[in-house]
Point group: C2
Chain length 332, copies 2
C-alpha cells in the first residue's frame, strides 16, 4: 500500500506529520509513504527521528496552502502546493491513498477540481466517527458540501452505511437524518425531501427517520446523514464544548478534593480527554472519491497521522470503494 | 405584570408548571399569573401546593397540543388548546406575556398564525443564553425559522444585541455569524449574503465576522446569529453531549477515587450539571413578537418556570420590544 502524505499540512507541520509517517512504516507492514513537501525540511525531521528511509520517499514541492487562504484561489495561484501534488500522485496511480492534515477546504477542492469521483457518486462527503454511549457512529457530511441536494444526502446514507458495516464492523447499521424534530414533516425543504428519498429507497428498512441532536450521543443511530454546513458546525461545537466541560469539571473537582487525590483526578480527566479526541480515530475519510483520501485535524500529532495511515490501509483492504460503486450502480 | 402560563405544556405538566407559578407569585411582587388549561387538574395541583389563590387565576380550556403532533395541524384541529388560548389572551391585551414549556413548534406557530410581529420585524427568532468561559452569550435563532433569509439573520443580530445589552448587561456586545470557517468567503449562500449585510450595516463596528463552533464556548462572541435549523441542532447536540460527558467523567472518577470521597465527587458533578442546565436561565424568549413570549424546555421543573416568569418581567421592565422597534424603524 502506497500513500501520499501532505508533509506540509497541519498546525505543527512538518515535524509531527513526518514523525507519524516514520512510525507508520515501522509498525505497519507493507506500508510505503511518499512525503510530499519541502525536501530540506522533511529531511531535517527524518534525521531528528533517526529514520533510515526504509518505506519512505520524498516528493519535493515548494508551496504550501495556508489555513486562512481561500482554498480554490490558493490551489490556482500556488501550482506547486503539497495538496495538489498529493492529488496528482493519486491521479497518476503512483499511490492508492492520500493523507493530509492541511486545510480541509483545500483538500476537498483539490479532489473536486480533479473530478475524481467514484462512478455514480454526485458529490463526495467527509465522514467522521463519533463516540456514543453504545459505541462509535459515523456522521457525514461534515464540511465537503455545504449546499447539498437531497440526492447527495441519500448517497451519504449509502456510503456511510458501507463504512459502518465494513470499517466499524456494525451489522445492519441504522441510518438517521439529522433534523430539528423526530416527526417526518419536520425541518427545512432539504430535510423533508431527503426523508422522502430514504422512505422510498432500498435502504428504507434501515432508515429510522429523523434524529435530534440530543440523541446522537445515546447511540440511537449508526449512520447520521446531514448537510455539510450543519455537520461541520456540530463537529466543531462538540470539540469546543468537550474542552470547556472537562476543564471546568477538573477545576470543580480539584477544588473539593484533598491534595493527595489530585494526581488521580487529573489522570482520569486525561483519559477522558483522550476518549473524546476524535483524532484518535485516525482522521476523516472523504467518501465518494476514486482513491482513498483521509483528512486529519489541523492539530494532529504523530499518533493521529500514524492512525490515519492505518485507516487508509484498512479502507483499501475492505474494498469500500468497490462496494460503493456496486451499490450505487445497482440504483441507477 | 400579568402573564398567561400554559399550564398543560411540558413533559410533567401540569404539576411542576403550576407549582412554578405558585412560587413566582409568592416571591415576585406585582406578578399575576393566569393558568391556562384544565381547571380540575390545575385546582388539584394548587390544593397540593397549599396555594391561597392570591395572584393566580384559571382560564379553563379543554385541549392540549401533544409534543409529537404536527404543530400547525394541531392548532387548527384543537381550537380550544392551551397554547392558542395563551396567544389570544396576549392579543386581547389581558396579559403582557406568555410562558409555555409545551411544543416549541406549536408555540411559534401560534405566534405566526396571529401575525403579532413587532413593527419592522420580518420573522421572530428564538434566543437562548449559553454559558461560555467568559460569561453568558446569546444565540439565535434556535428553531423558530428553519428557512431564513439573510435579512432575517441580520434582524436577529439587531434583536440579539439589544437582548445582550439590556438583559445580559453586556456593553457593546460583539456579534458573530455562525459559519464553517472564519474567512469571509466561507459557507453557504445564506452565510455569505448575511455576512455582506452586516458588513454594510450600522452594526459593522460590532460585527466580528464568522465564528466557528469550537469558539462559541471560548466566549469570543456575545451574540451568535444562525439559521434556526443549525441553531436547533447545535443546542440539542450540546444538551446530549453535556449529559454523556458528565456521566462518563463521574464514572471514570468514582472508579479511581477511594469510597470516602465519592459523595464529594458526586456533589461536584451535580453542581456542574446545574451550571450547564439551560433551563436555569429561565427559558428562551421568542424575539420579534409584539408582547413577550418565553419558551421553556419540555423537561422544565418548577424552578425553570419560576425563572421564566421572572425573565418575562425583566423583559418588560427593560422595554426590549420598544428598543427593537426603534432600532429597526430607524433602518427602514
Amino acid at each position: 500500500m502506497r500513500i501520499a502524505l501532505d508533509a506540509m499540512g497541519g498546525d505543527f507541520a512538518p515535524g509531527p506529520i513526518v514523525q507519524g509517517a516514520v512510525e507508520a512504516v515501522r509498525s505497519q507492514k507493507g506500508t510505503e509513504v511518499i512525503l510530499v513537501g519541502d525536501r530540506a525540511k522533511i529531511e531535517s525531521v527524518l534525521a531528528d527521528c533517526g529514520a533510515d528511509g526504509h518505506g519512505l520517499e520524498i516528493f519535493h514541492c515548494t508551496q504550501t496552502v495556508e489555513m486562512d487562504e481561500s482554498p480554490v484561489e490558493a490551489l490556482r495561484r500556488k501550482r506547486d502546493n503539497s495538496i495538489s501534488r498529493c492529488w496528482e500522485l493519486l491521479a497518476a496511480g503512483r499511490v492508492e491513498a492520500l493523507v493530509s492534515a492541511g486545510s480541509t477546504g483545500a483538500v476537498v477542492a483539490g479532489g473536486l477540481l480533479q473530478k475524481r469521483f467514484l462512478r455514480g457518486v454526485k458529490r463526495p462527503g467527509i465522514a467522521v466517527v463519533l463516540p456514543t454511549a453504545l459505541g462509535p457512529c459515523v456522521m457525514l457530511d461534515v464540511g465537503a458540501n455545504v449546499t447539498p441536494k437531497p440526492e447527495h444526502l441519500f448517497q451519504y446514507g449509502v456510503m456511510g452505511s458501507l463504512f459502518a458495516q465494513h470499517i466499524l464492523k456494525i451489522d445492519n447499521p441504522r441510518i438517521s437524518l439529522m433534523n430539528v424534530g423526530s416527526e417526518e414533516q419536520k425541518g427545512n425543504e432539504l430535510a423533508k425531501e431527503t426523508h422522502a428519498l430514504f422512505d422510498k429507497s432500498h435502504l428504507k428498512e434501515r432508515f429510522t427517520g429523523n434524529i435530534e441532536g440530543r440523541d446522537i450521543y445515546k447511540g440511537q443511530a449508526h449512520v447520521i446523514v446531514c448537510d455539510g454546513f450543519v455537520g461541520n458546525v456540530v463537529l466543531k461545537v462538540c470539540e469546543g464544548l468537550v474542552e470547556m466541560i472537562l476543564n471546568n469539571a477538573a477545576e470543580e473537582l480539584l477544588s473539593r478534593l484533598p491534595a493527595e487525590h489530585h494526581t488521580t483526578a487529573r489522570r482520569a480527566f486525561e483519559a477522558l480527554m483522550q476518549r473524546y479526541d476524535y483524532s484518535e480515530y485516525g482522521g476523516a475519510p472523504l467518501l465518494g472519491i476514486d482513491g482513498i483520501c483521509i483528512i486529519c485535524h489541523g492539530a494532529s500529532g504523530a499518533p493521529a497521522i500514524r492512525n490515519a495511515i492505518r485507516v487508509a490501509g484498512s479502507f483499501a483492504q475492505n474494498q469500500i470503494n468497490e462496494m460503493i460503486t456496486a451499490e450505487l450502480s445497482g440504483l441507477s
